[in-house]
Structure formats: structure tokens, C-alpha cells
């Protein structure tokens, strides 16, 4: 990356993907990457999952923008977990100067109303809050250089992002219409880009294609296609036979018993089958004709989520960050971000049959 954020012109990066593809991790890494060069970024989660906190090694995030990481060069990442109820009260306070009257809404069951009879209102509030954070200024300067949203999964992303357009249509007049139209227009402007994270697996790739089609139809700007956990290509040439493997094992001074040779052969063939499927899926992704970013598979797994903070979170200082495993992945990420996508090959359809294992 010659310049921080180059190739990522949007100010709001919406990161979606099928559940389990690593979209939260990618969102966190992107916020870190875009904070390079002394920039300040915000990463936002909206589903109450508290998925960001363990990645940054901090305790549960409140409804408040907190610094979660310092980036060499003076940059920093802040994180925010948007709570719809708090967002509603804040929204009312901000636009209508309600003060205590806003609190009375809770007493009257307005919050339950919002989630029961008007469930879409929740998404209006969440997207509204994201827009507010992205466009906020202090002393004539934008508070955040970039905002990254860990968005709902691909199955719900169209509905989530389109809810304001829907609401604006529903309310023909009045402040809700104005607000909703503002958010709907913002999400359709060049300031916003929706990136989709996928794995080289059939269902996530299918959902990725569906999501791009849905978002395009809604007039929402789509950004990059991020392929996560890409394995290095092995066994790309040579003949894979048991005899060949036995010779190799003997040359390396390893056991050459039948179980070992046959076992190694079975594993290698399964690997090739898997890779043939992945190549077909990659061709499907290239056919979507979107800028493609590949992130390497991390042999140790992104295990940060698994580590619990060893001491209570202290918000006043940033814990030692990043941890080694995450650092190696994050170090790989910016390089991959900048990599140009390979050109789509013509006539490369997906192999439907899984029986044919390339043997040469």
C-alpha cells in the first residue's frame, strides 16, 4: 500500500458475508488497515453479538465509541456496539431535544413497540446511527477517516440496508421521511461501499452472488469481494502415486509402511478434490466481475476470539496489540488488499462432478 486507504475510497465500508465466513474478523482487520498513517477509524457492530470485543482483547463494548487499538504511526481504531434502544433515545434527543420526555417513551412501551409492531424501525435506527458516525465533524474536520460496519449476514443485508428507502416510501411526509431519505441516499452514494466476505465453499459463494445481485438491484454501491482463508496451492504438478510417495518417504528417511503410504495418498487426493472444487468456485466469483481480494488461510486459526482477556479491561489504555497470530494475518491483509484481481478466464465453468480428481 503506497498510501493508506488507497483503493478503498469509500468512507463507510459495510462488510457482510454468510455467517461463519469471518466477516467480523475482516471488518476488524480492515479498520486496523485503514487506520495506518495516522488515520482514525471506527468499527461498528449492530447485532448485539459482541464479536469485536474479543478480537481486540477488550471486555464487552458499551454504546460508546471506545479506542480499542493504537496503530503504529499515530493511527487509532475505535469500536462501537450500537444498541437499538439507546440509539432510539439518542436519536430523539438529538433531533427533537426531548430530554426526559425521551425517557418517558420507554415507560410507555415505545421501545417494545419499535421491536414488536414496527420491527423495521430497529434497522432504521441502526443505519441512521452509522450514517451519523460517518458524517460527524468536529471543528470542521471529520471525526473518522473511515467507518467499517460489521453488518448483518448476506441473507439479511438487502433488507437491512433498504429499510430506510422502504420507510421513506411509507411515511409520505414528516421528519421520519426526511431522516430515512437522508440515510437511504447516503447508503446509495459513493461514500458507501458494501464488501462481501466469502470462503471458497459452495453455499457462501452462492450467497455472495445473490447478495451482489440484490444490492445492485437496490441501487446500493457494491465494493470488493473478499475471499477469506485461501489455502496455498500445493501439488500443482507431478504424478501423485503411492509408488512415488514411497520413494519420497524412503529418500527422506521416513516410514514407508503400507498404512503411511496409503494414508498420505488418501490425504493428498482429498486435498486435490477440495482444490478442484475451490478452483471452480473461484471461477464463479471471477465471473461476478468485482475487484477481488484474497486473504490467506491462517494455519493457527484466528484464535483471538478464543483467548479471553487475562485481566479486566481497562479502557484508559490499550492492551498490547496486536497479538502475534493476529498480527501475521493483519500484516498479510494490506498486501492482499492492494493486490490486483486476476483477469477472469473464459469458459471456466464449475465442475459439477466431484469424482474426477486431477492426477497430472
Amino acid at each position: 500500500m503506497s498510501r493508506p486507504g488507497e483503493g478503498w475510497p469509500a468512507r463507510l465500508h459495510v462488510v457482510t458475508g454468510k455467517g461463519g465466513t469471518g466477516k467480523t474478523t475482516v471488518a476488524a482487520a480492515l479498520a486496523l488497515g485503514l487506520a495506518a498513517g495516522g488515520r482514525r477509524t471506527l468499527v461498528v457492530e449492530v447485532e448485539g453479538r459482541q464479536g469485536l470485543a474479543p478480537l481486540f482483547g477488550v471486555g464487552p463494548l458499551p454504546y460508546e465509541e471506545r479506542r480499542v487499538a493504537a496503530v503504529p504511526g499515530g493511527g487509532e481504531v475505535r469500536a462501537l456496539a450500537v444498541d437499538p434502544e439507546e440509539a432510539l433515545l439518542e436519536y430523539l434527543d438529538l433531533f427533537y431535544k426531548l430530554g426526559m420526555a425521551g425517557r418517558a417513551l420507554r415507560k410507555f412501551g415505545a421501545i417494545d413497540f419499535a421491536t414488536t409492531i414496527a420491527p423495521g424501525l430497529r434497522d432504521v435506527l441502526l443505519t441512521g446511527k452509522v450514517k451519523e458516525s460517518t458524517t460527524r465533524t468536529e471543528a470542521g474536520r471529520r471525526v473518522y477517516d473511515a467507518v467499517v460496519l460489521d453488518a448483518p449476514p448476506t441473507g439479511r443485508i438487502g433488507r437491512f440496508l433498504n429499510v430506510t428507502a422502504e420507510t421513506a416510501r411509507l411515511a409520505r411526509l414528516g421528519p421520519i421521511k426526511t431522516q430515512s431519505e437522508g440515510v437511504a441516499a447516503f447508503l446509495r452514494s459513493p461514500m458507501t461501499a458494501v464488501h462481501v466476505v466469502t470462503l471458497l465453499e459452495e453455499m457462501p459463494v452462492q450467497e455472495t452472488a445473490d447478495a451482489f445481485a440484490e444490492l445492485t438491484a437496490l441501487g446500493i454501491t457494491t465494493g470488493k469481494l473478499i475471499v477469506n482463508a485461501v489455502q496455498p496451492p500445493l501439488l500443482t504438478s507431478g504424478r501423485l502415486t503411492q509408488a512415488e510417495l514411497r520413494r519420497g518417504l524412503a529418500a527422506a528417511g521416513l516410514a514407508t509402511d503400507r498404512e503411511t503410504v496409503a494414508g498420505l495418498h488418501t490425504e493428498a487426493r482429498a486435498y486435490l478434490t477440495r482444490r478442484a472444487v475451490e478452483d471452480g468456485l473461484r471461477a464463479d466469483l471471477l465471473a461476478l466481475d468485482r475487484p477481488l481480494v484474497e486473504l490467506p488461510y491462517l494455519p493457527g486459526g484466528v484464535t483471538l476470539g478464543w483467548c479471553r482477556p487475562t485481566r479486566p479491561p481497562r479502557w484508559t489504555s490499550t492492551r498490547s496489540w496486536p497479538t502475534p497470530a493476529y498480527a501475521s494475518w493483519c500484516a498479510a491483509a494490506p498486501a492482499a488488499w492492494a493486490r490486483r484481481p486476476p483477469r477472469p478466464r473464459s469458459g471456466s465453468g464449475r465442475p459439477r462432478s466431484t469424482a474426477g480428481v486431477p492426477s497430472s
Binding site: 413497540f113 420491527p119 411515511a171 421528519p175 512415488e244 487426493r269
Partner: protein
């Protein structure tokens, strides 16, 4: 569960929830045709029944209640949405109840009961400030659409709640079994742990964790470390095939070790929950034969 093959007389049907159609059906069943037309024409109903998220949970509860009431199936398998929203439907009865018992509903019903006069003419003084706020925030037109919608559905809300509560109780009954599916990766297992905790709190019967795509090693005699060391030597000597095969093996060994550790962590935190593994297939499953293979393995 042995009878899952096509040859011995069992059959399997599948359906997908159509949120709008289910909602329309409920309206038709519980109101007269004239009222139903009125509801269908309401812009708020149109948006809510087709576009807004959240409605789906209620309709899922409705449909599940209907399917069970028909007593037509030996077994009903529900595929829930992924991640956190999977359990949103558990909250549906309580949320509906809070809303029905709250003052908000009466507020919306007031104008309709007052004969459709100005929106808040009949509300009591205590609503004064609140109603002004509401009118200011959401605007008069949307408020009257909303009010019309709530008034038209008024007679149905009680039924909604009753049926949702009934379905909720069935979900707690011994005839129900919850199965949580997760791949042996830290994030997925963390989510599975959340599900397990939540189901326990709701007193819903969690029958087990299905550990999906568990990898296995075919050449356990070779350690990851010696494989990688040998791969270096062989690659330098020009034998790339064996070197790569050993690298594939080493990666697999490490993956298996990691998966084992992750599964052990789940069992440590949820000792009472049985775990059933499903072996990883090299290619994705997308036909009945593939499904049978997994089903047979699971049910054995």
C-alpha cells in the same frame, strides 16, 4: 432413523416459510373478508408483512404451530436462521405480551375507538406529552396509517399471543429436541456455547451439538513436525510431489489437533451436552445421496 433410505417407505417433504402468505392467511382466518381487505390495503401492513425483518419470527411461530396442529408428520425439522437471530423467535411471545399490555397499544387504538376523529383527541391527559412527541417524531400521516393498522388487527393480537405462547410451550416439551450445529472453529463454537446457554435459560431441551466437518488424519504415524522437516529436504532435492503431500499432511495434523482442542473446550464448558461429529467431505454436498451418507452416519 434407520428408515432414511428411499427404499423402505419413508418420505420427506420440504417447505420454505413464505412470511407474507402466512401473515395473509392469519388475517383471512381471523377476520371477516371486509376487514381483511382493509388490512391488506394498509401501507403499513404491506411493508411489515413483506419487507421488515422481525415479522419473520412471528410467522415462523405461527407456521410451526399450524404444522404441529395438523398432526400429519412423524417428525418436523426446523432449519433456523444462522447466528444470533436464530433464537429471536423465542422472544416473540414475551415481546408481543409486553406490547399488548402496554399503554402504547391503547394509544393507537384510541382514535379508532373514538370514531376516527383527530388522532389523539380522546387520549387521557397523561398521554398528552407523549402523544405530542410521537406525532412530532413520526408525522401525522404515518401515525394514522399505523393507527389504522393496529386498530384493524386489534381483534387478532390476542390470538397471536395465545398461539405464540402455545408454540413456545411445545418448544419446551420433551417432544422437542434442539440440535446446535457448528464447525470445530473457535468462533462457531463460541456461538454454539451462546446457544447452549440461552436454551438452558429458556428451559428448552438441547439434545446435543453436531460438530460438522470434522477432519481426520489417514497417516497418523507421521508427526506434523517431521513431515515439514522432511518436506524441506525433499523440496530441495527436487521431489515436489512428496514434499507437497507431506505439507498437506502436516497442515491436516495441525487442523485436527486444533479441532480436537476446540471441541474439548466446548465440552469443558457444557459438560452435559452430547457431541456428535460429522466427518468432513472433500467436496460440498448437494444431492440426496450425499445427504443420506451424512444422515446415516449421524443417526447410527
Amino acid at each position: 432413523m434407520k428408515d432414511t433410505t428411499a427404499t423402505n417407505g419413508g418420505d420427506l417433504h420440504a417447505m420454505m416459510l413464505d412470511m407474507k402468505r402466512t401473515f395473509d392467511e392469519v388475517v383471512l382466518t381471523h377476520t371477516d373478508p371486509r376487514r381483511a381487505e382493509e388490512i391488506f390495503a394498509n401501507p403499513f401492513y404491506q411493508a411489515m408483512s413483506s419487507t421488515f425483518s422481525g415479522t419473520q419470527e412471528y410467522m415462523a411461530m405461527e407456521k410451526l404451530g399450524q404444522l404441529r396442529a395438523r398432526d400429519e408428520w412423524d417428525l418436523i425439522v426446523v432449519d433456523t436462521p444462522p447466528s444470533r437471530s436464530a433464537l429471536d423467535f423465542l422472544d416473540a411471545p414475551a415481546r408481543l405480551g409486553r406490547f399488548l399490555d402496554g399503554r402504547m397499544l391503547r394509544l393507537f387504538l384510541a382514535p379508532a375507538r373514538a370514531g376516527g376523529k383527530s388522532v389523539f383527541s380522546m387520549v387521557t391527559a397523561s398521554f398528552g406529552m407523549f402523544s405530542r412527541v410521537l406525532a412530532k417524531v413520526i408525522g401525522g400521516q404515518l401515525l394514522s396509517d399505523l393507527s389504522g393498522f393496529v386498530a384493524a388487527l386489534d381483534s387478532m393480537f390476542g390470538g397471536f399471543r395465545e398461539r405464540a405462547e402455545q408454540t413456545y410451550r411445545i418448544l419446551q416439551a420433551p417432544e422437542t429436541a434442539f440440535l446446535v450445529v457448528a464447525v470445530p472453529e473457535p468462533d462457531a463454537i463460541r456461538e454454539a456455547g451462546y446457544f447452549a446457554g440461552r436454551l438452558a435459560r429458556e428451559r428448552m431441551p438441547l439434545h446435543g451439538l453436531i460438530l460438522n466437518r470434522v477432519h481426520a488424519v489417514a497417516a497418523p504415524g507421521l508427526s506434523a513436525q517431521e513431515s515439514l522437516a522432511a518436506a524441506e529436504v525433499l523440496a530441495a532435492a527436487g521431489d515436489r510431489t512428496t514434499a507437497d503431500a507431506l505439507r498437506v499432511h502436516a497442515a491436516l495434523m495441525r487442523q485436527v489437533a486444533r479441532e480436537t482442542a476446540v471441541a474439548a473446550e466446548f465440552t469443558r464448558e457444557h459438560p452435559g451436552v452430547p457431541v456428535a461429529p460429522v466427518p468432513a467431505q472433500p467436496a460440498d454436498v448437494h444431492d440426496l445421496d450425499g445427504l443420506r451418507e451424512i444422515g446415516t452416519g449421524l443417526a447410527s
